[in-house]
């Protein structure tokens, strides 16, 4: 559930098909720079109603999923 929601937000951010997003997908491959990632993080915060620290080293969609799962205890 967490993955599906995040995959959708990431897909929205770079105008790609959500089916192409996997946990291994890296932001670099999608040509999202660190500020684009912050924008995705903000969308996630809104969606899950949580606060995330942007300082963490986020490289892939899986990193985001892990971060959200720890935050929400999912």
């Amino acid at each position: 559930m967490v993955f599906e929601k995040i995959a959708q937000l990431v897909a929205d951010a770079c105008d790609m098909d959500v089916k192409e997003v996997t946990k291994e997908t890296s932001f670099e491959d999608m040509e999202l720079d660190s500020l684009d990632v912050i924008e995705v993080v903000m969308a996630i915060e809104e969606e899950f109603k949580i606060n995330l620290e942007t300082g963490d080293d986020l490289k892939t969609v899986g990193d985001l999923v892990k971060l959200v799962e720890t935050k929400t205890g999912a």
Binding site: D33, S34, L35, I38, E39, V41, M42, E45, E53, T54, G55
Partner: protein, 317 residues
Amino acid sequence: MSFRIIGTGRAHPEYVLTNDKLSEFLDTDDEWITTRTGISTRYIATDETLTGIGTLAGKRAIEKAGIKPTDLDLIICSTIRAEYACPSMACLVQREIGADCPAYDINAACTGFLYALEMADAFIASGKAQNVLVICAELMSRHLDWADRATCVLFGDGAGAAVLQKGDGLKSIRVTAKGDDELLVVGNPFCDSPFYTGPERAPEVYMNGGEVFKFAVGAILKDVRHVMKQAGVKQEDVKMMVPHQANDRIIDFARQKLGFREDQVASGIDHWGNTSSASIPLLLDELIEEGRIKTGDLLVMTAFGGGLTTGACVIEL
């Protein structure tokens, strides 16, 4: 409400610092800076003084307003650090322009212009003043750590001013504060007191870029929606949003969320950098000069900065 803007002015140091020049002494490059921030060049003071550029901006605003310096009832200067701890910048400007009214400085970091407008609103609405001069002037280059590429590339020097006169231009305004010294700090030069026993603290600039980015976008969305609702105006009524110029990426992200068209949002960061509280009034002056905004146009201004402070207003020019 209480006032109209009847004249604006701006001034800046002569020297233009390019991104390429920065990359001569920092591990950075033009591409990183332009894609992450929108900044290409910024003015940096060499022998200019804060009072000098502030006075020039103020004189130009008074000239355009068509009033005499002695018509002023109050001078409010906004700066994060004046030339002296005392006297204030406002007192020195008062002397230089030949005014005879009370004058003082305020510090609300990058939100200084909105804080000054809020203050002027109170003075004019209460009948204590008819004409107020607001000058926002910053020499950010004198407070930066020029070895820190993450912060020093972002800022520039400049001054913007506005003369406010009793009238009905201001439609709504709000400012906020939330004390915080973790996200964004510009340190002070340290006095060598022989009695001091606290921790050693070098002058510093500290910024958590990612968190400030989030704070900034959140502040713009919240404040702009608030003041637009208060004023009863819709996106299509607004001629231009004039946001604090900290980063084009912040502005563009907020713009999309607010539903403004690209041509409805003012940008001058490419040639100014972040000039802290000066960024809104100097951009206003530039937009008026270029004929992009004129009397009768509805504007939304929004700012955020250290403090943490935020503010926004709706105003008819």
